[in-house]
Symmetry: D2
Subunit: 345 residues, 4 copies
């Protein structure tokens, strides 16, 4: 059994990790780290866990965590950085859900996050944990920078066009919509029920940090520097991201050709489901599961692809992808504990 | 492997059964019966099943179903009755999710359903599939009348008071609230999003059929005929039932005593979670799981117990309970495929 | 023009008052009191008011308020008490939305609120602002204790049975369900979108303060002391209360007779709409309006009336009722600014 | 008093018209036309109207309608065309909420609607009812083609950039999100509560008819033919449209300059509210009102404007705009009956 520590277990990404790991046949959850709920049972914080997992939350104790095989760090921004080097020293594999270890270039991190990086040498070693693009590197990594939710959705929806050199690399626009779990569990008036329900809005237009993560991966695939417009929106539902991606093409094409291109690109990927021509993703098809659904349209008048991609922000956009990465790190079947079809209802 | 047929697989109870059975290690889904979607893949009707279960829906073929070990009948009211005798003849165990085989007394059925029962002799044989009350009978049954959603919630919330002879049997009132999946997938204006959201209402006051089911089980436990007020309400959420139950007591008591009484009564029941004094159920604690949560309050001024019970109407109130019954019928651990903690988010 | 001050203008009841008063032809809003948003325009706090009302919020200045004709106090519990005597001294009429001036008997207040009342002499003078029961007294009052939301809904749904002496006064049960605006605008995790949506629950079972308010009014009508079970529930929608009321009757009756009784009792009440037999209220019929809808059922088996009443908790249950009271206090048509049909959508 | 007929009064746009007109001081609603609900009172179809408007719905009778001054036609697509010429002959002003009379060029209509236009001569006469662009023509028109919901939102969000010649006319992308009332009241599984809630999706990518309406108006302002990408999305809320608009600029600019440009362009428009720099629209700010809110951002890296505009699809996007047009047609203050701040809650 893989001994796992979940640090930051009581946030939304953390508790989703716990949910997924409780049904993982090869994992034993050893530590539930939670600064805010030390001494409380996880089943008192999230009462759906009564009779299933009634373990107590603990303050971080590096020695105790040191006895584990893997740590998932779902900590507030900044907190991950201060803990992870110690965990690595103790020989753990670390899957970090923050933005701290997702960058190839420390300068990009420091520009978008507005602060110095505290362990740039680890940034060099860390692997961007998007299995569909970096599976081999992930298998041999010690430290995974688990991708963001908007990021995973937007990158996987775009790369086949770049890899096939049919995209114009200018004027790529990603208009993304997210459910409210993406905002986390922290108390904010804007996230209260009466303010949120029956409301939608855009936020952080042209300034959201995930822009840089998307650009990094798209640029790597394209072999040239790509800059995009990325606009996040908040939608009155709990789970789900839907990205609508506009890409001008450098030649005429068709929905059929483009769909075929995507199907070919993802033909070995269990978690990527390319829709048939004329069919489009909906967030309820992916809610609760680790799947990414992608539908590809072609606007003949404008010689432009319009791609719609969708995933569950706290599964494939956070906890599920982290489990997928863990499976790879430990030589397990990548799909272990991740084959459920989601909720629909 | 148990070969299973799900008849009526594309309704909401049916598809939840399919969801649960896909993760059941001892079951192979052989047949997905659906009159409306014959020839379509289940994964085209419920697209969350892509890459997980892509089996085609079929018209009912008794010979083919005859090769299975168990049939779940989640058919429209009336349809179950016409199919089930044939299935039993072919040697299957049958778990029926309709109201047809839930009654001890055919007269009660005929009064509340307003029609003749077509196979009263089977009604005598069928077992009311509430494991917490009838586990031993279920194990040896051929035909299970799987209880309704309101019913399971209301019965389990009330019986400890009756079994302990502390309840006055008059003036029992069950005020129940249900999410909209309870209304099924059929097209009705009143169930459209714009009519349903931001709306609640009572319906079928004093006339809902589940009243008779609740009364039957409560009367059996009490050893005398009990009549209750049962009022169902529709609430703007998908899953979940919450029943608030008012029972006058025949002597003074306390929340502590009553809670202890419930804990004792359900001490061997994995799926019943009795809350500590002062804690109350919420539907999000049970959504997606097979648990029933029960909180017990005592109104000292009125010498009255107020009990709140909650479950997921399409899991413990339908599909999950059906799987629990199947596990019992086939000698498996009753909890198999039912130990997940639900969604919370 | 009536010069009005709204103290506590930025809470949910307060802003609904502002919404209603902006369309009142006889009122000029002179003061928007808000401790938290001093110096900000109301249209920056609630941006729907841009181009409509762009007045600044102010700290409480008794001299300035003293120049008004009426003050609506929608202040946090306790704060009302400390301000109101001064306002009355300055000659204003005061409509208080808190619980402080709703009681005939100071002992009842002190028992349910757990504290001394700071101005019991005013409690003697204040009038319970439910126009359907106390219209004449309201017209001549200086200080109105504007009824609570659950209270208005429950009282109006019950009194015709008591007034007509057909109710048994024991075993009256009020099971009430409220939207989330009832919890106010304060920050609480339990009111955040991800915790609230797709969730329902009961709370403060047998201990909610509104119980005592309901009992006071029912007892007055019945001419004897009445104690009830009152259970509030939180439902995932913004506006609306639905009360389901169970009352044993002292003789046989029928839905027709009871409905006629209600129609007769409320025949001169514009804001009470008694449903035809077989028709029941829904919160969306009253959302955004000052109406109370009431449907009356009769359970022949149990000789019990089941009454369903519904209103918008922040209109007829707070701000609208306050405007109705103001209209009465100033000799206006009671319906002024309150005749809109609500939103439905 | 202006005698008004609302034809198609029981659809969502129709009933919103009725809601607005009941508070219009210069309008008397003479006729409520509804094929489906003939003989029923509007207050039985939409029960929020009890005690407010209890008029019966009628089958279309041209002679009776002929006695009115104005007809609002909120009829299913195609039905408008067959009625409107007769109404005009009888001397009525007509405000048509369908797409039939919104086009300058019959060929554009016939291409996007896939059918012959039955009265192309009227199309020449009809005026596109967007007061902010065509106020003078509207005042003197007989027939108004009342703009679509997506259209109004998208056009008003874009034209200042074109009018100021700062926009590149290629690569304009409008990503629009709509609440579910936009889909109307017709029965469709995809619009049922359980399918809609917690779900979002794109639809009719690159093929939605409103594309052509937006292009027509943008081309007129730009003085050259403009083609855009327009993608509609369905969001789980009732009311509200939010359009996110991407426009490359032909020179460097700033959020301040662009915001100033919008403020100047709309300086005389009561119903257009341009946000300060850094502030963005939300649908709850416009729900229930006739306002359009617009926020303007500038992406320096890409020399691109990102504009967010928002309105209530059944008010400014349908019924409210129709009333605004009626006010203009009859020489009233354009704002009559339209100055309320909306719901927020």
């Amino acid at each position: 059994m893989i001994k796992a520590a979940v640090l930051g277990a009581t946030g939304y990404a953390g508790i989703e990790l716990v949910r997924l790991l409780t049904s993982h046949p090869e994992v034993s959850i050893e530590i539930l780290g939670s600064h805010s709920f030390v001494g409380q049972k996880i089943s008192d914080v999230y009462k759906n866990f009564n009779h299933v997992l009634e373990k107590e939350c603990e303050e971080l104790d590096l020695d105790k965590v040191g006895a584990c095989d893997v740590a998932f760090t779902a900590l507030p921004h900044g907190a991950s950085k201060s803990v992870i080097p110690s965990l690595l020293e103790k020989g753990l594999k670390v899957i970090d859900l923050s933005g701290d270890y997702r960058y190839d270039d420390v300068a990009v991190y420091e520009k978008w996050y507005g602060e110095k990086h505290s362990s740039p040498e680890l940034l060099k070693e860390s692997v961007y944990g998007l299995p569909e693009l970096h599976r081999d590197k992930i298998k041999n990594a010690r430290l995974i920078g688990n991708p963001g939710c908007y990021t995973t959705c937007s990158i996987l929806g775009t790369v086949p066009l770049l890899a096939n050199k049919i995209a114009e690399t200018k004027n790529i626009i990603v208009d993304a919509k997210s459910g409210v779990t993406g905002a986390g569990r922290g108390l904010k008036l804007q996230n209260s029920f009466c303010e949120c329900t029956e409301n939608m809005k855009a936020y952080k237009v042209a300034t959201h940090r995930h822009t840089s993560e998307i650009e990094q991966e798209l640029s790597n695939v394209a072999g040239e520097e790509i800059m995009i417009s990325f606009t996040p929106h908040l939608i009155p539902q709990k789970r789900g991201i839907l990205s609508t991606i506009y890409v001008n093409l450098n030649r005429k094409s068709s929905a059929e050709e483009l769909t075929e291109m995507y199907k070919e690109f993802y033909k070995d990927e269990f978690f990527v489901r390319v829709k048939e021509v004329g069919d489009l993703p909906e967030t309820k098809h992916v809610a609760g599961s680790n799947f990414v659904d992608i539908g590809v349209c072609y606007d003949e008048r404008l010689q432009r692809a319009v791609v719609v991609s969708s995933l569950d922000n706290i599964v494939k956009g956070a906890a599920g992808q982290a489990v997928q990465n863990m499976n790879l790190l430990f030589g397990l079947d990548e799909k272990t504990a991740l084959t459920n079809p989601g909720f629909y209802l």
